[in-house]
Amino acid sequence: MQNGSGSATVAGDERSSRVAFTVNGTRRELTLDNRTTLLDALREHLDLIGAKKGCDHGQCGSCTVLLEGRRVKSCLIFAVTLDDCSITTVEGLAGPDPLAPLQEAFIAHDAFQCGYCTPGQLCSARGMLDEVAAGWPSAVTDDLTGAVRLTDAEVRERMSGNLCRCGAYPHIVAAIRETAGER
């Protein structure tokens, strides 16, 4: 998934490399410090501030984005390893109008308060629903052979990598369940 073959160290500066990846459908070419995380590349170099820095250690989930369609914690990935990769952030979940059903459901269910964990919750939910559709089991899945039934317990288990200090969890679960029902 992560493909480093195309990135190149910048001449005369072994601390930086050129990298090109696609973010929300737009190709981006950047020269980045090799230590720059995907999260900081998005926030500090592309002004895509939807992905949040809550802990910078992969512990809170606020920075969750989709990498090749799968949810990842963008604070744990060096951006220069992502040459030719495709990234989707909360800004790319839908156009500005209309909102994605998941976004509409989060508003309707008041699935957030301060909003800081919300972009991560949304990207995580998007990736999680695709995992369920692909039949991936979780720790609480009883039947590992059939299709996954998306119960409240399944959603709670699968969304537990995204912390919310305001305590919007039951509303997050309701919003995701409603959206899953529409699919």
């Binding site: 601390r15 410090d33 230590r35 720059t36 900081d40 926030r43 500090e44 002004d47 895509l48 501030i49 939807g50 992905a51 949040k52 820095k53 809550g54 802990c55 910078d56 250690h57 512990q59 809170c60 606020s62 952030t89 909360v90 800004e91 979940l93 839908a94 500005p96 909102l99 976004q103 989060f106 508003i107 309707a108 008041d110 957030f112 308060q113 301060c114 909003g115 800081y116 964990c117 919300t118 972009p119 949304l122 409240d152 317990a153 959603v155 709670r156 288990e157 969304m159 537990s160 995204n162 912390l163 919310c164 200090r165 305001c166 305590g167 919007a168 969890y169 039951p170 509303h171 679960v173």
Partner: protein, 698 residues
């Protein structure tokens, strides 16, 4: 106010921005020439810095400067010891922010911070709170100005004479606020003017403190706090980040972004003090309490006295002719504790509401009935009448919704497979206060209105609530009203804290809107293009409020299951019923109450700052090792409220509901665990090792 927008559910105004990632928080504003700061924590617990060598840090490519006490711009003394940063070499606690690296990039700043060499002369330290600490003393008062000790009647004699006596000691650990957005600031100086984008719970206070520290007029400081990623008390007063960012920006002459790391949120920004609480209850055989005493011990730092009002909850909650409360404090070599959601009431209620459950068990009566039997008619503390008191309504309505009837009082009687099942209840109260605020209201010729007030929405839904209140006060549909908050250029307003935000701000908004309506009523002809504006302040009205006992009340119910083999505790369901005056927006009110109860589950079962005395610091200072309640931990949680009209509060009739949700929750869970297992855990959190070692689990 006309019946209209208030009381009807409305999605929050900034919802769209928050779900599309376009809501900008403190360090997310686009800027040219921006630099990045990274704070350096002290590695010593108590002592002095003898030498700082910034050269290895300055050698890191991209590092611009290293600020420390030897070179930082000077700050005015006497504002607040906590904020007197980088001014002297004294180290008061491990983790104190003693240097700051400023660089062209986050990566360079972070690397530079590792290379600042600091040497210390250290002294022996004391960092653990104990009930017999030689440094215990009686503070002059406890927060936010209560008497330290109170006494009524003769507690000792009445307790001695009581038929049933409970004498128990509870302990709570250090709890860390951990808002998801760290304390963060972007600072810029332009021509002597300081512009701050800052994450706080009240930028009027930030503006005032920074003006004092830098000795510039208040008008020279502007603080913008449009969106704030939570605070839970920790951002209720300016803290280190905003001061360090302003110092750095002045030093480098460029904008500076500074976000504290998650690890740095465990100390320098405050935390809920650990407590040791002895509660004594003496009653007759029917549970009528004659004597009640609550002795609370907590800690503060060597920098500032922070005296948590832990036992104040007990002063007004239940009736008893003979009563006493005391607070003792010890200055340790630790960071200064600070506000965390319901400071005082929350840990105090854990103790008292647990002790009430113990008394109910000792008397063999239902814990709801025990509370009803000890319901006071006036405030037992001051003798003032209650503006409204609906604790009993919360208990009885909660009992009905929860299914409390026919509960077997005996513990350990319900079992489902390997799970022991139990239920518990606790009462809650929280003061309903208001602070002076100002607002303006403007009418435009096109029929639109603008209401301005420096309120702060930290996720409470304040922006939306004030908008609804304003529309009703103006007598127009909300769609014709614009609301502006979160900027110190707006009329000054109090903090988003102490459950007094909506009460304080809506008061000023209503007055401004009413005066505007009066003005327009006398106005003939068209309005000028810039509109007609009136300003209102509630300072006189708030000051003139008659003394009364004004409290919100609540009752939390919990059902838990406890694994008979592992001692694992799970919360099957939580239900809370609250009496908090008028509810402006049911949507955001419910979210706040559920959020408070969720943090209470966290307090009861998950959170615990584990201090290592050798290093004088919490070892579990990140979100991998300091556990907060996650999505899988909240299985079923519901919040309801009783209708309550209270004319003795404020024009909007609100009590505030940011804290009441958490107050009794930990006790309700501890009481449910005792009901499930027969084991009374008196030191939070309820970890499995505290259960499986007991006779109920062998």
């Amino acid at each position: 106010m006309s019946a209209g927008a208030v009381g009807r559910a409305h999605p929050r105004l900034e919802g769209r921005e928050k779900v599309t990632g376009t809501a900008r928080y403190a360090v997310e504003y686009p800027l040219d020439d921006v630099t990045y700061a990274w704070a350096v924590p002290a590695a010593a617990v108590r002592g002095r810095i003898t030498r700082i060598d910034p050269d290895p840090a300055l050698a890191v490519p991209g590092v611009l400067t290293v600020l420390h006490h030897g070179n930082a711009p000077r700050l005015a003394a006497g504002v607040e010891a906590e904020l007197h940063l980088l001014q002297d070499p004294v180290v008061h606690y491990r983790g104190q922010l003693v240097a700051l690296v400023v660089a062209e990039s986050i990566e360079a700043a972070r690397e530079g911070a590792r290379h600042v060499l600091i040497e210390y002369d250290t002294e022996p330290h004391s960092t653990v709170l104990t009930a017999d600490h030689p440094g215990l003393y009686r503070p002059e008062k406890v927060n936010p100005g209560y008497p330290t000790d109170t006494t009524e009647g003769n507690f000792d004699a009445a307790f001695e004479a009581a038929e049933v006596r409970v004498d128990v000691t509870y302990r709570t650990p250090a709890y860390h606020n951990n808002p998801m957005e760290p304390h963060a600031t972007t600072a810029q100086w332009r021509d002597g003017q300081l512009l701050l984008h800052d994450s706080n719970q009240g930028s009027t206070a930030v503006q005032a403190a920074l003006a004092e520290l830098f000795e510039i007029p208040r008008e020279s400081v502007r603080v913008i706090s449009e969106h704030v990623g939570g605070g839970f008390g920790s951002k209720g007063y300016p803290k280190a980040a905003v001061v360090l960012a302003a110092l750095a920006a002045r030093q480098v002459g460029r904008p500076v972004r500074l976000a504290l790391t998650r690890q740095q949120l465990f100390g320098p920004i405050g935390y809920r003090t650990p407590t040791i609480q002895r509660v004594r209850l003496g009653s007759d055989a029917d549970g009528r309490i004659a004597a009640i005493c609550h002795d609370a011990i907590s800690q503060t730092s060597t920098l500032t006295e922070f005296a948590e009002q832990t036992a104040v909850y007990t002063r007004s909650m239940y009736a008893a002719p003979h009563r006493r409360t005391t607070h003792r404090l010890v200055r340790l070599d630790v960071p200064t504790p600070f506000w965390m959601r319901a400071p005082g009431e929350c840990p105090g209620a854990y103790a008292l509401e647990s002790a009430m459950d113990e008394l109910a068990a000792a008397c063999g009566i239902d814990p709801i009935e025990l509370r009803i039997r000890n319901e006071p008619t006036v405030d037992p503390d001051q003798g003032h009448p209650f503006s409204s008191r609906n604790l009993v309504a919360c208990l009885t309505e909660g009992a009905r919704r929860f299914g409390w009837a026919d509960r077997d009082l005996r513990p350990g009687t319900r079992r489902d497979g390997r799970w022991l099942i139990g239920t518990g209840v606790a009462g809650s109260s929280y003061p309903a206060r208001a602070r002076a605020s100002a607002a303006t209201a403007t009418a435009f010729p096109d029929g639109g209105y603008l209401v301005r007030i420096n309120a702060t929405d930290i996720g409470t839904g304040a922006r939306t609530a004030l908008w609804l209140v304003a529309a009703d006060a103006l007598g127009v549909p909300p769609e014709r009203v614009d609301i502006r908050i979160g900027d110190s250029d707006l009329p000054p307003a109090g903090v988003a804290g102490g459950s007094m935000g909506t009460a304080s701000w809506s008061w000023a908004v209503v007055r401004a809107c009413q005066e505007l309506r009066d003005r327009l009523g006398h106005h003939s002809g068209t309005l000028p293009p810039e509109g007609t504006t009136v300003a209102a302040s509630t300072a006189d009205e708030v000051r003139a409020q008659q003394p009364m006992a004004r409290y919100a009340y609540g009752a939390q119910f919990a059902e838990v299951r406890v694994d008979v083999d592992t001692g694992e505790v799970r919360v099957n369901r939580m239900l809370g019923v609250f009496a908090a005056g008028r509810v402006v927006n049911p949507t955001t009110a419910r979210s706040q109450l559920i959020g408070g109860m969720t943090m209470g589950i966290s307090m009861a079962l998950h959170e615990e700052g584990l201090l290592d005395e050798r290093y004088g610091d919490w070892v579990n200072h990140d979100l991998a090792t300091y556990h907060i309640t996650g999505c899988a931990d909240v299985e079923q949680i519901e919040a309801y409220w009783v209708d309550e009209e209270d004319p003795d509060l404020n024009p909007a009739g609100v009590k505030g509901l940011g804290e009441i949700g958490i107050v009794g929750t930990a006790a309700a869970i501890a009481n449910a665990v005792r009901h499930a297992t027969g084991v009374r855990v008196r030191d939070l959190p309820i970890r499995l090792d505290k259960l499986i070692g007991t006779s109920s689990f062998t």
